[in-house]
Each structure stands twice: as C-alpha cells, then as structure tokens.
Symmetry: D2
Amino acid sequence: RIDTIAGIINGTGNYILTEMRAGREFGEVLKEAQALGYAEADPTFDVEGIDAAHKLTILAASGFGVPLQFEKAYTEGISELTPYDIAHAELLGYRVKHLGIARRRDDGIELRVHPTLVPQSHLIAQVDGVLNAILVDGDAVGQTMYYGPGAGDEATASAVIADIVDVARGLGSNSQQRVPYLGFSPDALEDLAVLGMDDVQSAYYLRIQAFDHPGVLAKVASILSEHGINIESIMQKESEFKDGRIPVIILTHTVQERQMNLAIAEMEALADIDGKVVRIRAENFN
Amino acid sequence: RIDTIAGIINGTGNYILTEMRAGREFGEVLKEAQALGYAEADPTFDVEGIDAAHKLTILAASGFGVPLQFEKAYTEGISELTPYDIAHAELLGYRVKHLGIARRRDDGIELRVHPTLVPQSHLIAQVDGVLNAILVDGDAVGQTMYYGPGAGDEATASAVIADIVDVARGLGSNSQQRVPYLGFSPDALEDLAVLGMDDVQSAYYLRIQAFDHPGVLAKVASILSEHGINIESIMQKESEFKDGRIPVIILTHTVQERQMNLAIAEMEALADIDGKVVRIRAENFN
Amino acid sequence: RIDTIAGIINGTGNYILTEMRAGREFGEVLKEAQALGYAEADPTFDVEGIDAAHKLTILAASGFGVPLQFEKAYTEGISELTPYDIAHAELLGYRVKHLGIARRRDDGIELRVHPTLVPQSHLIAQVDGVLNAILVDGDAVGQTMYYGPGAGDEATASAVIADIVDVARGLGSNSQQRVPYLGFSPDALEDLAVLGMDDVQSAYYLRIQAFDHPGVLAKVASILSEHGINIESIMQKESEFKDGRIPVIILTHTVQERQMNLAIAEMEALADIDGKVVRIRAENFN
Amino acid sequence: RIDTIAGIINGTGNYILTEMRAGREFGEVLKEAQALGYAEADPTFDVEGIDAAHKLTILAASGFGVPLQFEKAYTEGISELTPYDIAHAELLGYRVKHLGIARRRDDGIELRVHPTLVPQSHLIAQVDGVLNAILVDGDAVGQTMYYGPGAGDEATASAVIADIVDVARGLGSNSQQRVPYLGFSPDALEDLAVLGMDDVQSAYYLRIQAFDHPGVLAKVASILSEHGINIESIMQKESEFKDGRIPVIILTHTVQERQMNLAIAEMEALADIDGKVVRIRAENFN
C-alpha cells in the first residue's frame, strides 16, 4: 500500500529554486530561465504550481485509486520565496523544493503543491536543475525514488508518472495481486475524500520580524505551546536592520495546519511583531 | 530505445563499500555486516557479484529484449578492493561502486558486474548503505534513475527490476507501441550477442607500484600512448614505503579493454614496476 | 592598547579536544594522549587548565601591565566535556576550544580559563592538535594572531608568550612610546583589579534536559527574558531517550555571568527540567 | 636559527586573489578593489610585488642578519594570473597566494616574491582578504605564524614585521643568547649572498596547451625526467577548445629553477605544444 507520493514534478520551478540557492532573487532567475527557454513568457502555469498540481492529481489517482480531482488540489507557487529564507533553511539543514505531495490518511487524502523544506541529506534534496524526481513511500518496500528528466509535453509526462506509480504499487506483490492499471477497473477506486488544507498535517518553517524586546521569543513560544505545537529549533538573528527589527526563525514539529493558522494569527496580533509571518511547510520523509 | 542499464543491485556489497570509504578494510567491514545480518555466513553470492549478475541478466533481458544468459555475464567481486584505492578514487573526484552494467552497442551487448568508479557528483554516487539504484539511459528521455531498498528475496527483486525497466522502456512512447512484458512475445527478442570482455569499452583507474626512477612515468605514458589510450590524469605520490616504491595512479579515457590488457602486460614487464597493476573500471555516465 | 588576549595555550588540551570532534569520549582520548606521550600520567596540570592559567597570567601581566596574580584566575578544565555538546556546538557553527582569556574592561580585568565556543570561521578554530595560538585584539591594529608549537617547558613558553604580547603591544606605536618589557618598569603597572566570575561578560551555550511538555521552552525563554538575556538560537531535539527527556540547546548573546547564574538556578528549579543545566561559555571575537 | 620566512605581506594582493577564487578575472577584481579603496589608482606598487619585496627584504635582514638588499629580490606580480589556473590549483589541493619567501641555505639566501601554490590544509592558505600573515620556520621551534591586519603605512609595517621576526628569532633561546635587534650589532650580520633565481629551489605548477596527440604526455614526461624533475601529478583535461588544444597540468616535486627553465624551453620547442608554458611556483612548507 502506498502512503505517500511526493515529487519535484516541474522542471522550470526546480531550475529556479536551484539557482536561487546562490543568493539570487526569484525575478532575476525567472528572466534568465525565460531567456534559456526553460520558462514560458507567461510562467504562471509552471511557477504557480498549476502544472505540478495536474501531475500530482494523476499520481494520486494512479497510486491511491481515487478519481482525478484537480480542482481539489491546494496550489501554492514559488514566486514569493526569498533567497533569505532559502539561505536560512540551508543553515538549519534543509533545502527548499517545490513539491507536489499526495498522502493517504485514514480520514482522507492530502493533495497539495507548495514550497517545502526537505532535509539536505535526503536524496530528493540532491535533485537539481530541470530534473524531476518522484518519491513513493509504502508499507511494503519503504521509500523508492524515481529520478529523470521532466518529460516534454504534459500528456507524455502524465503517462510516465502514472507508470512509475504503477510499478511502485506492484512492488513486493506477485503478479496476480497487482493493482490493475488506471482505468482498467474503475470500480476498485477507493472512496477517500481530498482533505481541506486545515486538516493537512505538516512541519513548518516560520519567519517572524520581531521588534527587539527580549521577551518576544517567550511570547511566541507560549503561543505555539498553547496550540500544542512543538518547536524543533529557533534562530534569533542579530538585528540586520536599522529599525531594530530582528528576524526570528522557527522550525516546528508536525502539527495540523488548523492549529498553525490559529497560532500565526495570534502571533501577528502581538505588538512586538511586524507584518506577516512567513510560513513554509517542511517534510522530513522518515 | 534503452542504451545503458547500470545499477547498484546488491545491498550487501553497497553497504560494505559505503563503510570502506571511512578507511576500513574489506574483511573487517564484512565481519560487521555479517554480525548485523546484512551479509550471509558465506558471503560469496553477494560480494563476488553473482547475485548482481543474476539481476543484471534479467534487467538486460527486459530492457533489450535478449534471452536470459547469466553464464555470459562477466563477474568481478569487491573482495580485492583496498581502502587505499577507494581513497585515491575519491581524491580524483570519483566514488567506487559495485555496478552491474548492461550496454547495447551496434555489435552486441556488454554484460558485466565489477567495481566501478563513478563521478562523485552523479546521483548514483550518493546511494549509500543497503540501498539499490538502477540507472537507465535511453535516446528518448535521457537518464532516469530508480532508487529504493534492495528487495528481500531474489525472486521478488527480479520482478521489481524487470518492471522498472519496463517503465523505462515505455517512456515517451504511447501505449500501443510499448514493448510487451518479458516472456509475452519471445519472438520479438533481438538477436544481439553478449560481447566478450576484450570487446568491452571502459575508462580505467590504474595503480602501478613503481621503483623511484624519474623516467618510469615517461615509459608508462609511452606505452599507453602506443595503444591509443588517452590519459585524463596521473598522480605520482611521494613514496610512502621504506623500499622506495612509489604508487602511480592513472585515470584513462575510454578505450577497448583489449588495448588496456596489452598495455598492462607491457607495463608489468617493465623492470621499474613491482608486481601487478591494479585496475578498476570507470564510467562517467554522461 | 590591548583589550583582549585569548589563547589556546595548552597543547595537551587542544589535542584532546581536536580528537573529541570525531565523537570520542574524553577518557578514551586522554588514555591515547598518554600513550603517545602528549599527556602526563597525572594529567591534571594540563586538562584542568592550571598550566593554561599560569601562562594566561603572564600574558595578562605583559599585555596589560598588571602584577602576576595566578591565584585570581578562574580555572575550569575540559574533563567534563561530552562529544554530544561538542557535536551540537558544531551544528550551531561553533567549535569548542580550551581558551585562556584576559580582557581589559574599564572596571577591571577578566582572567579566566575554560572551554569556549568560538565561531568555526575564525582562524583560531582552525588550530588543531598540539599547536598553540594566541589572539591579541587591540584598538590600534585590530586582531592579530600568533600560531606555533606549544613550547616544551613552562619557563621557555612563558618567555615566548611574553615576547609575543610585547610585539602586539608595540604595534603601531613608534619605539619611544613602546611599553617596556615586563619587569623593566614595574612602577608603570596599571592598578586594575581582577574581576570575580560574577562580573565577567560572556555569551553562553546551554543544554537543558527537559521533560517533553510543549510549554517548557516558553518557560525557559521567559526566565532568560526576565534576566535580560537575549537568545541567539534554540534547538529542541527530538527525544532520543526512552524516558521522554528532550535536550534543549540554547545559544545566548553576551550577558553578565551573575544574571546567567540566576537564570540557570531558576531553570533548574523548574519541574519540567531534569538535573543540572550544562553551560559552556562562548566568544565571537568580532 | 630561522630557515624560512614566508609571508602574505600585501593586503591588496591577497584581497584580489581571495576574490579571484570565485572565478573572477584579475582586472575586474582590481577595479572593484580600487572602488573600495583597497587598491591605489596606480596599483603597480601592490600587485607587481614591489611593496612585498620591500617588506621581505626587511624580514630577511632581521631574521637572517644580512644587509638590506632590496634590489636583489626577485619580484613577480599577480596581474598575469588567471581564474583557470587558480581553479585548477584548488582541484589539486592547493591555493594560490602572493608570497614573499626568504630562505637561508648553506650557499646563500633565496629572496623572492611571486604567486605561490600552498596546500589548502596549511593555516596560511586560510588567510583571506586584506589580512597579512608571516610564517617563520626554524630549527628550534618549528613553524610559527603571525597573522593580522596589514599595517597602514609602510614604515609602521616594516617595524612590525621586524619585531615579529625578532620574536621568532628569540624563541627557545634564553635571553642572554638572543640575537640583538636589527641595527644594534651590525658586525654580527652574516655574509650570505642573495642567490640568483636560477639557483632557487621550488616545486612547480605547469600548464601546457597541447595539441591532442596521445603521445604528447609521454614526450613531456620524458623531458622532465631527463632534467631530473619528479612529477607529483598530471591532469590532462578533456579538450574544452574548438581547435583541439588540451590543457595538461603538471605538479612537480622540488627542483632547481635552472633545470626547470631548461625543461620548459624544450617543451615549448615541441611541435605538439602551443604557445608558452604557464609556470607557478609551489611550496609545501612541511
């Protein structure tokens, strides 16, 4: 049984994130990618995660036997990412990748595309440039990963990724028991609903711009604690700004997104905090 | 069309090579692997490449449509590898992996299992421990790699790797044109002979123990040149031995093994050289 | 004017710390150092910082023109250090060195020998093995560092380090204005008292063993905040222990040791915290 | 007795070399250094090694007790260095620094300023930016290194570096035996002549542009062998040029410069070689 399918499934986005690791801005790298022919004149389809959501929907259908339901996938692009957060994720031992993630849980299916911190030591963090990779995690054989070029047109790519999942699905079973190909036995499709983002479970990278009161960190830690959110690490940088604001960077353990939304709202209401809290999801895949 | 299939297809061997990178001897790591249950009491099947040759034979049959012909596979184990050569391969930018390699050439098929230098920057060099990885290189989609745990028993593993190659084989084609599964249409099997090792093409890592005459390097370079063998790099280490022997380490470009055998025979006949020449094949996969 | 003198001034201790970076225990490395002749059968003089305090006293006398007052130096050895804390300091970008530190402040002189976190990127962090290094920081020329073998007997070493400081003291001044050698003009010795440890200023690495209540981090942050102690970073590790205790590692900004002592006492009184708080001082030298 | 004094004694040059490691051209970095105020409008004094030769002359006078003889120092600048050679030196484990080197030999004194490969693992290779470092190697105490900011005006700098050498000179001796300060006892100055560059001993980095005949490497190795020059390593790069020229990079053991000059002349006369041989000296300081 497959539990998780997660992939770098858009070459344009992965190229841009790879280049941003050198400290470059999104807009600058996008222009270069367009000049090199890696990105379209209108890059929305790639960088906002729409293409990745299409492919993820097919992966989930093939892997979990659920209907294609693209409109229910959560889609968040990479255009708001900053080199600052990418660099600080690296300092914490993580790399930012634009992942499509499909996860089967008892109460439904997570289906989401967004920038994601993954551990630098995981093989999927090593996949650079226009290349794609699909990680499949199941109870029978553990994690497997497929790695290769992003296929040219979407139809081909869809066929390819469906096949990959088919292989993963059949791993460890003998041929009689193998799940039939997508479409061959529609009656076997499972009836698992796609969960709303409030019900998704994830770890989080948070960046807060705090005014330099020694107590702000204690307040933030209290808010997280009250929502049952465990902290893996906190970095409070020396102020790099004239106005005294200091960035506080937090990496949490896994929690339901609903709780995180509440905690972020409370943090943003603090007088010690400036503007919005930056939030990037994180997956450890272990 | 698939041109090359290359894989880390024996978890025991890959575990041992991974540990040897820390400077440990083969025998010591093997004992540890046996204690941990990663290696059998009689490890021959794993460390001498027999298991890998079985799997490679299936991969080649599935990928190239040729009959299963295990007895024609060349098999060389890892028990003779030294931490010294592993460390010097690293210095040159390479990692030693125990690979099964099947390659389709116009005049036949290469089918061989042996220790192999691969570039550290290639994803396959990052596959550590008991994990397996299969690299497939074809004209339609370039390089793809499958990565996952080595499956438990041989039969299962064979089915899995056959499936992987099937997927790779079908990449980019539409479903009507896909090559049928192994055994379904035996008449389609291509009639490509397995080539003898003399006809195999490879790059080489060579280590020569020279007596410290300044001219020995010139003589060695001349012999290689006369056999049309291009040199990528040479390292002549300061003598670490009381008796004045100095190791000369050479990395060559790709050449036919027949030429290399002749060149090595001539080198071993030189009075300036002590004992046998150590030879490890190398693949750049580019 | 010289403000700070800080040095790795005991080769035995530095050898042991260098080896402990590979994850080895103090006791094991000490035995090895004794076998190699780097440590005495009774290692107290070296590993407890007594030898370093002697040399530091001479450095301070020479650099600041104060009397020799060995009995006022604070001395803390390295025998309690664990590979665990050394490894986590590294994760935070720091290296643990056994430093002698003499610092001139308006109200007195700090004179102390203890394990110290220094930034990995600082040249003094690169000084490995039995070698010594002395860093001198002054208003005229900024930081200078002297690096070399630890001299054989103590008398020689003292002469050497006195000379080094003399040079540093004279930097940028013309020869008429140079401060005379130690002992030549005792009347010129400044009358700065050596400060007690309560008055020393330092940054701190803290390790707390917390019971796994989400709220413990907020409580700890509150305590530090109430004592005016700013936090640079916090790491809360996943529990590695059967009993549910989780290590919380904190790096603070510079604060007076008196405040830190109070804060640590309050933390150790928390029901959520197990045993003593591990505390290692840290210097950024910037 | 001091045997070798070697230093990074010009901050401008070291700044430029540090920046060139990122792949940037000399001219581009020089312009930036001028804009930042690190280099003069006329940079000749700094980048051609004249300033460094002045300081080296003083170091040698102080360290060896010989007269100041600036006009006999060999001076070679860094303006001809390419990022290509800097990068390949790094691949071989070396860093390029602009060193002043004074070495006492039985038959005279070497006095030379030139770009020099030093092992990356040596502390002097870690000295980046406008900082200076002086390495002193003597029979009594082994290697010591002084590290600090390059002093502002030349006169000050000279006094500083003279003092440093004085300290090094006195190391390990008791105060009665110490060599007096420069100028105090001119009659004690030793009568060692400065050697011509033909008599200097050095290791060498060579880069040859060869036309792609397999035999060229054998010819080059023969020429070096005939002049008694031992090779530490050779890299023959895949051709990166349309015209088929391939760079051959050689690192030699220590040899007299006279022999190297003869060997280079013979190499440049080969029909297989294009243009001049690039030559950078190398020091291992061990």
